[in-house]
Symmetry: C2
Subunit: 411 residues, 2 copies
């Protein structure tokens, strides 16, 4: 069903906007206390904040020709062999035989079977695969399942969704103004000094461990040996490991584990989560059963037009190599970009928001400051490889000027 | 990005399934306490439970020719003028100019404008429209925003998502075994005796009031006057009204408010939520800002292929009229079916799960027992109008036999 919600009655039934109970003009006061956890969240979500700064710059400089190496959004059209599958999928909805309504909330059986057999070599059962609209959305649903009582550990820096949802669910204390860390989160520092893999022997236990490899934003991919260490450590202390493999198809190194070759497109929402049937809570009850309950309760199944999976990786990895080489030529240290579509540039201690602003103003290139991914990201800049080729080339030319060593702002 | 998550390490890195810390074979014990709120949830989610009973019957009776009037899933193919839009949408992704990646988390600007102007006569701003994958999913995100500290009021009976998400978020106490009501939820009884509209003068205050009209499962549509009462009551006590208008396009009565003529298809996920910019929490901060933060944090935007809206209502409403007439012919009292795609049949006090089983066994027709929508639904049966025409006709023929008065099980 195409469905609509109107929150607060004014949008629907009231002939004009009343301000009953309002204390100032244009405001409709409710007597509902704000969820205190929202007060703990810092500023805006990272990516919209980048968008605001870009828009402000454009408003002041309307003729600027901006190139974005910022948010990791893909830009290349879908290849024709995939496209024909998408069009056929859409066309089928016009026939009586081909029309399908709601999928099962867990995904259609044949797709679950295919993911289990083709991408996991049969090591997981189809029943353990939950098809969804992507890992960011699944993280939100997992957090609803975990509730407020668990402790979480995250790589620092990492993609904001893990920490922000922990804050929203009430698992954390306030952010400490000095360390920029939320209380009751275990931060696992990942930096060049530990080759972006945390020192587990000194890491406190957490109930839930979020680990993203290849990592966003650092581009670091853990080796098979490192992943085995991580698994053993989680098993030993009874932690649940949430392994975010969103960028697995970009892996090119031989000693790094990879599923297989597959990929998607940011606008075509399709993902999945595997929950092993053996995994149980401390009381012996099934984690997969609770996750299934969440999916049934707040999800309707993936979109029926979009059941497909495909490849468009090499193009972006060539962009990554170009960005990486440009930074090396400038004389900067870089990480990532070989097994991941992100290049993480070491600013040698200089503030990342300052460099972001300098590059936006002098080169009209949008990047992402590392500080946006946690305190451990300060002093780094993330470049996304998802631009069109010509834009990526032009960005490299501009960055060679704006980022040359004597142009780097003082620390 | 097509994204995958593996929860617990065994699915990814471990060569075989270890059971480190396991206390019984085939189980991987974690040291993580289960979210206590999950223990409060009763049995399974309603619709999968219906599916299980149907499958069990089919397993025992493999030759049964089952007709479903159960879950409200649509069955008719998408009309050609809509289909051409969908195919064109998919095809565009194959061109450089037409490809789009992530939409804004709030939806694409032009679609938000169109919804505001065409469906709300400009009474809402585009900035107040949040496009999503449907109201069930949005309810989950709204509940993450509300948190554990609010009280909620629901129509009884009502679609399970409101109560279940309140339980999951920790807003409620345990279910009382006698009343079948969760503690700390305000149940608003809706029955033939009050024409399915609650007596607001005797209803306790709640922070959040969920109201679905036309209602699922009762099919009751509130009049304009009733909705104005509801709005005034919410304003007076400072409640936030979450108005679920999923079935608004089915409204046919003149004195019932309606947006406009539009509809969708269950497999093509598209919906939206309107949050008035004037609405603030008790501390004066903006509700829309917090909802925006939730959407940015745990949602990636609607699917880029599916941005369209359309009509396929009359066909289903003719089914509803047929089901309604059949029940009247049998001599049963019926509600709904005139402004909503659901017919709510009065079983005159007889247990709804008993009637569900009797109809499944004797007529091989799947229905939904009213008790599944809350204690107030006991003694009623919901029939969905979303079957194909011929199946609906055949179901009516069978129901005339199975439900004739002397066939109704004793109370």
């Amino acid at each position: 069903m195409a469905a609509s919600l109107a929150i607060a009655a004014t949008a629907f039934a009231a002939p004009s906007r009343p301000a009953v109970g309002a204390e100032r003009a244009g405001v409709q006061m409710s007597g509902v206390a704000r969820n205190a956890n929202f007060g703990k969240l810092q500023a805006g979500y990272l990516f919209p904040e980048i968008g605001r700064r870009r828009s402000a710059y454009l408003a002041a400089n309307p003729d600027a020709n901006i190139i974005s190496l910022g948010i990791g959004d893909t830009t290349q059209p879908v290849p024709s062999h995939i496209l024909s599958g998408l069009v056929a999928g859409a066309s089928k909805l016009g026939t009586k035989e081909g029309y399908s309504g709601y999928g099962a909330e867990q995904g259609m059986g044949p797709l679950r079977e295919k993911i289990a057999s083709a991408l996991y070599d049969g090591k997981v059962d189809a029943a353990e695969v939950f098809v969804s609209d992507g890992s960011k959305c699944d993280i939100g649903r997992l957090q609803m399942m975990f509730g407020s009582g668990v402790t979480s550990a995250v790589q620092d820096p990492s993609y904001p969704v893990y920490v922000d949802t922990s804050v929203i669910m009430g698992q954390t204390a306030e952010m400490d103004a000095t360390s920029k860390q939320y209380g009751n989160i275990v931060y696992m520092p990942c930096s060049p000094s530990n080759n972006f893999f945390p020192d587990l022997s000194s890491t406190p236990r957490a109930d839930v461990v979020y680990f993203c490899s290849p990592n966003n934003p650092t581009g670091a991919a853990a080796s098979r040996e490192q992943l085995q260490q991580l698994v053993d450590w989680c098993n030993k202390q009874g932690s649940i490991l949430v392994f975010d493999a969103a960028y697995a198809p970009f892996i090119r190194s031989a000693d790094v584990n990879s599923f297989s070759k597959y990929a998607g497109f940011t606008g075509v929402r399709l993902g999945w989560t595997v929950v092993p049937k053996e995994l149980v809570w401390a009381d012996g009850s099934s984690v997969a059963a609770d996750f299934n309950r969440i999916m049934c309760t707040v999800f309707n199944g993936d979109s029926s037009v979009l059941r497909a999976g495909f490849v468009l990786i090499d193009y972006y990895m060539e962009n990554a190599a170009m960005l990486r080489q440009t930074m090396l030529d400038i004389g900067l240290k870089v990480h990532g970009g070989t097994d991941a579509p992100y290049v993480f540039v070491d600013l040698e201690g200089k503030p990342s928001w300052d460099m972001f602003s300098k590059i936006l103003e002098e080169a009209q290139v949008v990047t992402i400051p590392g500080a946006g991914f946690g305190p451990g990201g300060e002093g780094f800049l993330r470049l996304s490889a998802f631009a069109p080729r010509e834009a990526c080339e032009e960005a490299c030319t501009r960055l060679r000027t704006a980022m040359k060593p004597d142009a780097v702002p003082a620390a």
